[in-house]
């Protein structure tokens, strides 16, 4: 694979590193290694995609990278800090300030305005309430929805809803944006718009983006593709 020619950013230092990560699930007497010794690095300013067939361990890997789950063994380092054995509350705090999630199904709160949806991570953060409004408006402006502040998800198109979700992911100025099949619920036009937004965020703002998808065409739009199969990284295209 070649790097996207439009990429202007040189990858910086390592933000997130996985060292020999194993995740084992036990069901009755059988144990199953969803991740079987995965090691990888994600550098600042990278646009990485993680892909693989279903059942490959892609989702499990995403949960580990997203700090939603702890590995059974191995280490996870966030900015050189070992975070593989943290308590739930500490993990929640790190998720709040370090990660921005974008989901396939947007996961916006119903009957809640776009602005309030975008501000949701802030209520769990230390950012002063006086700044919440200006930050929310700034993020929605960034995704081109400054005219839809008061609209609820039901009043927005799928593409717009996903852009609200991206604005929400950006509001805490995260180190990594983790997008899980972000175009999976969108028509191709909206999907393309969303991907363009990710490119913009990566190339212009230098955001680190991890895109999880089963769609190889989508995965190819990243600077680097990590292919996972049977719980192991098979190709790490750098």
């Amino acid at each position: 694979m070649t790097k996207s020619p439009s990429s202007k950013n040189k990858p910086g230092k390592v933000v997130l590193e996985l060292r020999n990560v194993v995740k084992t699930y036990t069901s009755g007497n059988t144990t199953f290694n969803a991740l079987d010794g995965v090691s990888l690095q994600i550098r600042e300013g990278e646009f990485v995609s993680i892909t693989g067939p279903s059942g490959s361990g892609k989702s499990t890997l995403m949960h580990i990278i997203g700090l939603l789950d702890n590995p059974t063994s191995g280490e996870v380092l966030l900015q050189d800090r070992n975070i593989s054995r943290l308590k739930e509350t500490q993990m929640a705090q790190i998720r709040n300030v370090t990660l921005g999630f974008v989901f396939q199904q947007f996961n916006l709160l119903a009957k809640t305005s776009a602005l309030e949806n975008v501000q949701l991570p802030l209520i769990y953060s230390d950012i002063a309430r006086a700044k919440h409004d200006s930050l929310g408006i700034e993020m929605l402006t960034k995704v081109g929805l400054e005219s839809k502040l008061k609209n609820t998800p039901a009043q927005l198109s799928g593409g717009q809803q996903q852009r609200v979700a991206i604005a929400r992911a950006l509001i805490n100025d995260p180190k990594i944006i983790l997008a899980d099949e972000p175009t999976g619920n969108l028509d191709s036009k909206s999907g393309k718009d969303v991907m363009e937004l990710f490119h913009h965020l990566n190339e212009v703002e230098g955001r680190t983006i991890v895109l999880v998808t089963h769609d190889m065409d989508l995965a190819r739009q990243a600077n680097r593709i990590i292919i996972i199969k049977d719980g192991k990284v098979t190709t790490q295209n750098v």
Partner: protein, 410 residues
């Protein structure tokens, strides 16, 4: 120090919003609490109203009144005696000699004998049977606060008492019964074939609960009642001291005099405060008991809230997952759902207090009822606590959801 994130105001706002999303469900869920709080408020307000009413009745008698009644009225603990009291009540009666002895023994007091007969009376319009006619002396009107108000006649005089004059004072209800269309004052009635003149009509006093209804009474010089009864038995004696301070001393004196003549269980000397505290303790116990029964519905209401909160948590599993993914720690989720349960039960509490208050206003039209501030506080506190207790299980369930599972939940 633990800093609550998000702040309480944000949690309350979002709770209210999610509660308002399901208005019908909210009202139905709160119904148990509403009913519980309403009944607690109503019952305590009735108990309280009764206490106040009875206190007022006793205050009108005056704090310096001592009663001498037949039988043993109180037990050793200050409550009413309920063992064979009725029999003794009938068997003992006092005589004019007792009255004279008390007058002589307890100097500086007013001793008023009271004797009651049940008679048939007739006016030119109607006939009434089983009417209580109360015989007493010229001082009874002042002592018992039964003086007719201005323009409604007067109490009988000492001369009228001494010569057993054929005069009566009517209670307000019986006056209206006998003379429905005109004032009873100055009219004549036939009491057991005795032709008597109405010289006074009392204002409406209202019935004391379980006690005599003064409005149905007729008052006359005691000699007339002796004549109706065919004997000179006295049912009760009232002793009025000149001040409240003398009550205790006079009671002791009266007791001593009476003990010389009667067995200790054959009579009771008591003052209004003693009677009042006994009645109040009974009403208090009753009120607490009834309110306690009503409070059971608060528990039922709490279970309703728990049920609906469990449903809410299921419905919003995905939301919980999202909140956790973007940084909500378990305690933030726990507090969010707890506050929601509390608000749900507090809404019930508020509505219940409002309904209880309105209800007690309505009841007050025909029965004394008065809402106390403390009962409102207790009702509100209890409903909030019910919310916490029954909200804990669903909230803890929500806070323990795995974000991965929750986000996957369909």
């Amino acid at each position: 120090m633990f800093k609550l994130k998000p702040p309480l105001s944000v949690l309350i706002k979002s709770s209210i919003r999610s509660i308002l999303k399901n208005k019908g469900r909210t009202i139905l869920t709160s119904l148990g609490i509403i009913i519980g709080v309403t009944s607690v408020i109503l019952l305590t307000s009735i108990g309280n109203g009764l206490k106040i009413y009875i206190s007022q009745q006793f205050e009108s008698l005056g704090a310096n009144t001592i009663f001498v009644a037949p039988g043993k009225l109180f037990n050793d603990k200050g409550g009413f005696n309920n063992q064979g009291g009725a029999n003794r009540f009938i068997s003992t009666s006092f005589s004019l000699t007792d009255v004279t002895d008390l007058k002589r023994g307890a100097r500086g007091t007013t001793v008023v004998p009271v004797s009651v007969a049940t008679v048939e009376i007739k006016s030119n319009k109607t006939t009434k049977s089983d009417v209580s006619i109360v015989g007493s002396n010229y001082q009874y009107g002042v002592s018992a606060n039964y003086l007719p108000s201005a323009g409604n006649g007067r109490w009988f005089s000492k001369e009228e008492e001494d010569k057993k004059a054929d005069v009566v004072i009517l209670g307000s209800a019986i006056a209206t019964d006998l003379f429905p269309n005109s004032s009873a004052l100055g009219k004549r009635i036939i009491v057991k074939s005795k032709n008597m003149k109405v010289i006074g009509v009392l204002d409406k006093k209202g019935a004391s609960f379980g006690g005599p209804d003064v409005d149905q009474y007729i008052f006359t010089p005691i000699g007339n009642v002796f004549e109706f009864n065919g004997n000179q038995k006295i049912n009760q004696m009232l002793i009025k001291t000149s001040s409240k301070d003398q009550v205790a001393e006079t009671k002791a004196t009266v007791n001593k005099i009476m003990l010389k003549k009667f067995d200790k269980d054959a009579f009771t000397v008591f003052d209004s405060s003693q009677l009042l505290s006994s009645i109040n303790s009974i009403i208090g116990t009753l009120t607490i008991g009834l309110a306690g029964i009503a409070a059971i519905s608060l528990v039922v209401g709490g279970i309703g809230i728990m049920n609906i909160m469990l449903v809410t948590v299921s419905e919003r599993t995905k939301e919980v997952g999202l909140r956790k993914a973007i940084g909500a720690y378990p305690r933030a989720i726990l507090i969010q759902f707890l506050i929601e349960a509390m608000i749900l039960s507090s809404i019930g509490g508020f509505i219940g207090i409002a309904l209880g208050w309105l209800g007690s206003l309505a009841i007050n039209k025909f029965f004394p009822a008065q809402v106390t501030f403390s009962s409102v506080l207790v009702a509100f506190g209890v409903s909030a606590i019910v919310g916490i207790i029954f909200g804990v299980a669903p909230a803890s369930k929500a806070s323990k959801l795995s974000p991965i599972e929750a986000l996957r939940y369909e």
